[in-house]
């Protein structure tokens, strides 16, 4: 693809040329294009002056190609028209990346934003750069400066401990105090929004606090894959390997996104082995237990489970209240305990949902100037509560319970009384009684025309079993969480 415009004319002494030209061009395109198209394709372009030429940075190849194919002629003719008027000249070069050096600098050298124009001649130039990189690597170039990507606001101090995460927190602290020696690899798994990432950053921050020279790198698995692909494209895989194998602790979030990415798994497998051999710490999170991650090679799954694996479960009511109080304190918000209790009772699914609800109440209070009370919280979260209520119907409960126990909805409505059907049916009835306003006869009708006394029996049975049967209690909590999400 060639997007260079070769329009030569005497250079102008105009101030800010050619950025000024681009501003005028943008104004012209604003009038020509649909607002939506302008915001999608033209607004993301960043202009920069280089040697009197206009460089337009597109964030990715897709936008770059689109602008080149659909708008470059318009841009070209308008600029030509301006040049004829002003007596100036410039080339227009489309490039992929960002003019913001800070963004590029956050990526290691082998994966930094491609600062190459997408012209054939320039591709040749970038190819020659690749060659020189490779030869330089043989001379053992220094390892690129590392960027930890750690979020300093995630610490052990502001991680609220409860029954659901106390094992995870204790183990994480142990890892942070003795990286590479206590539990390696350290694997945390659990549903979305339960605090795995917070704990991961907390470990990284603690390691750096104890040893400011420690090289700790946090990254999402997608970034590992993207860096590897870029390194392959730039023939810099050796540098990539050295970079990731030189760290004291490698923290990889959401490893389940490695699924079906065989080349990345292969590379990670070798990095993993190298780090383990060097007693460097590996910390990994996933949404499920290592053996249950689909699309990941068996040998990698097996290694993931070599160290310590801990589950992070959804927080209970008391922990949710404590989380809300802690988050409010961080934001300097005075949150009454009864309001925290109200929100925690309504939002049971995960910490992000809790955070979203709290943000809503606080923002509303700032906007209206009203104090935060339970009544005010109810008003502020009205749409959330209505949406939740819309979700919780008997039909939806039946569908969710059937999916959870891997049976059919028709089984729940049938006359069959085998235990594998009867227990989920009782559970669904009890949930319908707990979460909807339907009467017992209505619930009975919805379950294949059963009598209201059958529903009453189911509710009593489940209620008494919940105190004795821990597995049943876990199922109940999980279903409540799924239904209120």
């Amino acid at each position: 693809m060639n997007t260079a415009i070769e329009s030569k004319a005497p250079k102008s002494s105009l101030e800010d040329f050619p950025l000024n030209t681009w501003e005028r061009c943008r104004e012209f395109l604003k009038g020509e294009l649909d607002v939506s198209d302008f915001n999608t394709w033209i607004n993301p372009l960043q202009a920069e002056e280089e040697g009197g030429n206009l460089i337009l940075w597109a964030p990715n190849r897709f936008v770059c190609d689109w602008v080149h194919d659909r708008y470059m002629n318009q841009i070209k003719s308008f600029v030509k028209h301006l040049m004829n008027t002003d007596g100036a000249s410039c080339d227009i070069i489309l490039r992929i990346g960002s003019k913001d050096e800070a963004v590029a600098a956050k990526a290691p050298k082998f994966a930094a934003a491609a600062k190459q124009p997408i012209t054939p001649s320039e591709n040749i130039r970038s190819a020659s750069i690749k060659t020189s990189n490779v030869s330089a690597l043989h001379k053992e170039e220094p390892i690129p400066e590392h960027h930890s990507n750690l979020n300093p606001s995630f610490t052990f101090d502001n991680y609220v401990e409860g029954k659901s995460n106390q094992l995870g927190r204790a183990a994480a602290l142990q890892v942070a105090e003795n990286p590479g020696s206590s539990y390696n690899p350290f694997f945390m798994y659990g549903g979305a929004g339960l605090g795995k990432t917070h704990l991961m950053h907390a470990i990284g921050n603690k390691i750096v606090e104890n040893d400011p020279n420690a090289k700790v790198i946090y990254l999402h698995s997608e970034r590992f894959v993207a860096d590897m692909v870029k390194a392959l494209q730039r023939n810099a895989i050796t540098e990539f390997k050295r970079y990731y194998r030189s760290v004291n602790a490698l923290l990889i979030d959401d490893i389940q996104f490695f699924a079906k990415k065989d080349r990345s798994q292969e590379e990670f497998f070798h990095t993993f082995n190298a780090l383990l051999d060097g007693q460097q710490q590996i910390i990994i999170t996933s949404d499920r237990y290592p053996k249950e991650i689909e699309g990941v090679e068996e040998r990698l799954k097996s290694r993931l489970g070599w160290g310590l694996t801990v589950a992070i479960d959804p927080p209970d009511l008391e922990t949710r209240v404590a989380i809300l109080m802690s988050k409010a304190e961080v934001s300097n918000v005075d949150l009454p305990h009864d309001v925290a209790f109200f929100i925690a009772k309504q939002v049971q699914s995960n910490v992000r949902d809790l955070e979203g609800a709290l943000k809503r109440v606080v923002a509303n209070s700032h906007f209206t100037g009203r104090p935060i009370t339970a009544e005010f919280a109810r008003e502020s979260l009205q749409d959330l509560l209505t949406a939740q209520a819309r979700m919780i119907t008997i039909d939806n409960i039946q569908k969710t319970v059937a999916e959870y126990y891997k049976i059919k909805v028709s089984d729940l409505l049938s006359k069959r009384r085998t235990r594998v059907i009867a227990r989920p049916r009782q559970m669904a009835m009890a949930l319908a009684k707990e979460l909807t306003n339907n009467s017992l006869p209505e619930i009975g009708d919805a379950f294949g025309g059963r009598d209201h006394t059958t529903v009453l029996h189911a509710c009593r049975k489940i209620s008494s079993e919940l105190t004795k049967d821990l597995d049943l209690k876990e199922d109940w909590d999980n279903l409540l969480r799924i239904l209120s999400c």
Partner: protein, 231 residues
């Protein structure tokens, strides 16, 4: 024979802005949140999720947010547009503001869901603001990726309320004032009661009437509206 006046070959663009958005009292909070997010020099929260039914003005607000940012790059992704591709979210974390419109239209599309999820994670590491719009509340969007759902749930969520008929008339009037012509009250009332009542259709009708009054050199009256729309 009466001659038609030719209108200029330039399409009038009502550049969406906060100023030409009719703010019903119920929606003042949403507008304030959006303005705070786009104007604040420091990023005190990652973003905002706004939702409302068709024609409630979510798209207008997203585009207005883009217009409100000066001298910094922004990106707007109307996901209903099937020509867009998940690959185009790569690298946009370097923008000042990223607006994702109609997120509910890609629910169930794994490639899009993962691309938005990864973008969210990259945005966390940057000084980038995110605004996401949908026609449904998050709880009703059928995402297959729970990781994405939970991240959207964590944003500040605000509903854009549908306007009442009186508010719709005021909104039409505001749009006419911005374009420099008068909308007689009886005409506005007639449009509301005889035409499709969602704001999108009403604004399109206003576009057509604007063109027709100009080319026919006629005043905007009820008989003229009937003639234009064959009512």
């Amino acid at each position: 024979m009466k001659t038609k006046q030719l209108t200029l070959g330039i399409r009038w663009q009502d550049a969406a802005s906060f100023d030409n958005f009719y703010v019903a009292s119920e929606n003042a909070f949403a507008l304030s949140c959006l303005q705070d997010l786009t104007n604040s020099p420091s990023k005190n929260q990652i973003g905002l999720f706004i939702y409302g039914s068709d024609g409630s003005g979510c798209s207008h607000l997203l585009q207005a947010s883009c217009q409100a940012v000066i001298d910094r790059p922004v990106a707007y992704f109307p996901l209903k547009n099937k020509k867009l591709h998940p690959e185009m979210l790569q690298g946009v974390e370097s923008m000042h503001l990223v607006c994702i419109d109609d997120i509910d239209s890609i629910a169930g599309d794994t490639a899009w869901e993962e691309a938005i999820f990864h973008l969210y994670n990259r945005i966390l590491l940057e000084d980038t603001r995110l605004v996401v719009a949908s026609h449904k509340p998050v709880t009703e969007i059928q995402f297959t990726l729970n990781d994405l759902r939970s991240r959207i749930q964590g944003l500040l969520k605000v509903e854009i309320q549908t306007l009442s008929d009186d508010q719709k008339m005021e909104a039409l009037n505001l749009r006419c004032n911005c374009r420099g012509f008068e909308l007689p009250l009886e005409v506005a009332r007639f449009m509301i009661s005889h035409y499709q009542r969602d704001m999108g259709s009403l604004m399109d009708a206003l576009d057509k009437l604007d063109q027709e009054t100009l080319s026919e050199k006629r005043r905007l009256t009820i008989p003229f509206v009937k003639e234009v729309f064959g009512l």
